[in-house]
Amino acid sequence: MQPKPFQESRIIESKVLQNSIILDDVGKVFPNGKEVLRDVSFVVNPGEFVSLVGPSGCGKSTLLRIVSGLLEPTFGTVESHSEHIGYVFQDPTLLPWRTVAQNVRLFTELHGIEARERQALTADAIQLVGLSGFEHYYPKTLSGGMKMRVSLARTLTLKPPVLLFDEPFGAVDEVLRDRLNEETQSLFLSEGFAGLFVTHSITEAVFMSSKVHVMSASPGAIIASFDIPFEYPREHGLRFSSEFVSLSKSVSQVLRAS
């Protein structure tokens, strides 16, 4: 699918002007006194794909909830120059009573977008994730990978300049995960959103990202950051190159030491 020129120009414009997220010394203490995040600072610039890797329970998901506005930080600030932030949840969170097309359409409905435009946005998004022909299927008949694609398409209908991913491919097998990684990457390149990706898979983080932040647990804090120099688009085979492996190894060492 070719994005309409009008929307493309809007994306490029917003990329330059607004579309970055700045976290400054963000900390979070839950009402029960548990400190889950301490002094987290980083930036997601337009066109960047940033990953957060860390052990389970290091507050990665909490951090995403804070960035999205679902939670308030206890300390520090989150500056977001983006009118809308997309959020891809860990589960596909499809509404089982809606078909694929109706699910993809949901956000455009919630934002009161007019019916004709809604239909166009929905059809475009379905085509983007390769689900044309499945519009009238109910979620119960879809595989895990297809459900995830529907969830992605639903987020893409609003053309968000920034997309947050909360371990979206944690529950699928490795082969499928690799493929979904590649598909997400090509969407990142074609749609021009900036990505903030939470995962506990080092390979996934290194493969997808231009920058990887490693987090330690309790309280969650960034202990190391890596620039990932590989050119986009990245091919499947990159995962087996010696540079990739040695970079993954350094990330892994930091993670293990924490």
């Binding site: 679902l70 932030i85 509404l95 089982p96 409905e109 919630l110 934002h111 119960k140």
Partner: protein, 281 residues
């Protein structure tokens, strides 16, 4: 393309396999209940003819006599049908009122924690009260007419609807609520597009339980109040008093059929409304 052809072939093989074993599967499905049913009839007739002597056979008349007297004698059968009409009407009216009140109450509780906290303990307590003990009071307050019978049905069938609907409304996952929050969904939108559809499976489970209870309520009310046009409850009492064993059993059979039909039609309704998307866990 080849993958598609392969899939098609697989599908055909599956259908083939299904057809081949259809006879056997049918037998496996129908034979056990059939055998059990025959055993039941044998025991029935054994009691009627071997255990009971002729003077006491009215306690359990054999099935063919029940059919002859209760169903093939138009005088008797039309009386039972009329009873079915009155009782069916009362239980349906009671059920509909319960559904309306129950759903509204559950919705109010789902919208306000305060209302839920205030009302829910009573709902639980109400369940513990033997509702039949309330029947005389209902007659005492509202007389022994059709209205009181409907009230009995409502009182007896309200609780499962409230509880199931409330649980259903609260069944949407937190992540889904987050999703609606992220997109600035208001209360009404959230209720209409998330909570209500999510509640449907539980609501239908509640409706089905309550439908059965409402039939019980209609018969009990009619049996207890014993005035006005004779429903199944009054007939049951009359046939017991007059020692009309065959008519009594026929009325019981008709009552059972009413219960089964009501239960079954709610199952069907549920299948029509949510069968397409709902996957029973």
């Amino acid at each position: 393309m080849t993958a598609q052809v392969d899939q098609l072939a697989d599908k055909e093989r599956l259908i083939d396999f299904k057809q081949l074993s259809r006879g056997r599967r049918l037998a496996r499905l129908t034979l056990p209940p059939l055998v059990f049913g025959v055993c039941f009839l044998i025991v029935w007739y054994a009691i009627a003819y071997l255990v009971l002597d002729e003077k006491r056979r009215f306690l359990l008349s054999p099935l063919h006599e029940v059919l002859q007297v209760g169903f093939f004698d138009w005088d008797n059968f039309s009386r039972i049908l009329k009873g079915l009409w009155w009782t069916g009407r009362v239980s349906l009216m009671g059920l509909l009122i319960s559904i309306v009140i129950g759903c509204l109450l559950a919705m109010a509780m789902s919208q306000s924690k305060l209302v839920e906290r205030a009302v829910f303990p009573y709902m639980v307590t109400l369940q513990a009260i033997p509702i039949l003990a309330m029947v005389p009071l209902i007659g005492f307050w509202w007389g022994y007419g059709q209205f009181s019978r409907v009230i009995v049905c409502v009182v007896i069938s309200l609780f499962p609807i409230v509880v199931n609907t409330l649980l259903g409304l609260q069944s949407a996952e937190p992540e889904m609520h987050d999703m609606f929050t992220l997109h600035n969904a208001g209360r009404l939108t959230r209720l209409q597009k998330l909570m209500f559809p999510a509640a449907l499976p539980a609501m239908f489970a509640g409706f089905r339980i309550s439908a059965g209870l409402s039939v019980v309520g209609a018969i009990v009310g009619d049996f207890f109040f014993g005035q006005g046009p004779a429903g199944l409850g009054q007939l049951l009492r009359r046939y017991v008093n007059n020692v009309q064993g065959e008519e009594l059993l026929a009325t019981i059979i008709v009552s059972s059929i009413l219960g089964i039909v009501v239960f079954w039609s709610f199952g069907l309704l549920r299948k029509i409304v949510i069968g397409k998307w709902y996957e029973a866990a």
